[in-house]
């Protein structure tokens, strides 16, 4: 079975993706997994735009309302001992009800803790990461991911290295 990227996308947005000139990144970096899954340490990343309301501010959705071609490039740390009722969700391109009910649909921390207990994975890191997927449009009409590439994604990667992470599961939303 082939997954149809546009199955759930409104026609206008789908045609935007179709027409987008994507320059394939070359070479694509590749790090073979060094240890088996049951000896590896994992971290999770999502672009669901969620945050921990007890320790963090929301993403800057107010500025996006004023400047529709801009998106907040910062990220939030979601700890492995997160509490569902303290999670904030406000992504302006999604209905956030399901994320408010269960973040495991995009950031499956609880499921990975279960797999850690069952010894299916080596361990789950203390910290996980939430970005907000809408990054606006650059002058070339493409997604404006420069701040992610130059600052925030390297920051997250360094935090993972500091926490001894071997592998990351990343979900766009």
């Amino acid at each position: 079975m082939r997954v149809d990227d546009y199955l759930y996308l409104p026609r206008s947005i789908a045609s935007g993706y179709e027409q987008q000139q994507v320059s394939r990144a070359e070479p694509v970096p590749f790090t073979p997994l060094r240890f088996p899954i049951n000896q590896s340490r994992f971290a999770l990343v999502t672009t669901a735009g969620i945050w921990d309301t007890t320790t963090d501010q929301p993403f800057d959705y107010a500025r996006e309302q004023r400047e529709p071609l801009w998106g907040d490039p910062t990220y939030r740390v979601i700890p492995r001992d997160f509490r569902q009722e303290r999670i904030g969700a406000g992504h302006l391109h999604l209905n956030n009800d399901d994320l408010r009910a269960d973040i495991n649909i995009a950031l499956p921390i609880t499921r990975l803790i279960e797999l850690e207990r069952a010894r299916e994975i080596g361990s789950l890191a203390p910290s996980h990461y939430s970005f907000m997927g809408w990054q606006g449009r650059g002058p070339d009409g493409q997604g404006n991911t420069a701040a992610w590439e130059q600052q925030y994604a390297p920051e997250v990667a360094r935090r993972m290295v500091d926490e001894g992470v071997h592998a990351a599961v990343i979900t766009p939303t």
Binding site: Y8, P10, P68, L69
Partner: protein
Amino acid sequence: MPVLARVIESFGISTIVVTMMPNYAERCGVPRAAGVAYPFGHPFGRPGDVPMQLAVIRDALRLLAAATHPNTVTHLPYQWPEPQEIAYKAWQPREMSPVVRFMRERTLAARAERERATPEPGTPP
């Protein structure tokens, strides 16, 4: 997001992207991706559905370990349990996103401008 995966991978961390748009990920270039035909916002399935979430996670972990070269993109066979027309509406925001509203207003303004510039033949002044 392919770009996040590429940066993190370049720090010596193996990544897999679980995405509703695997063909787009492949066009951008991604270390590994698992495609799943679920509505946006739900890469692992429905809230509270533990078996559904675990199925995608276990597949992603297996693919993570098995891949031997970049741009390994695998399409998972799962189907969303609700009808497409319901799921299509359910994931979308109740209010139009700012950029969709912006584009819509721009299109409407351009159309109005064209109509002002070229009145239909026979239209009374």
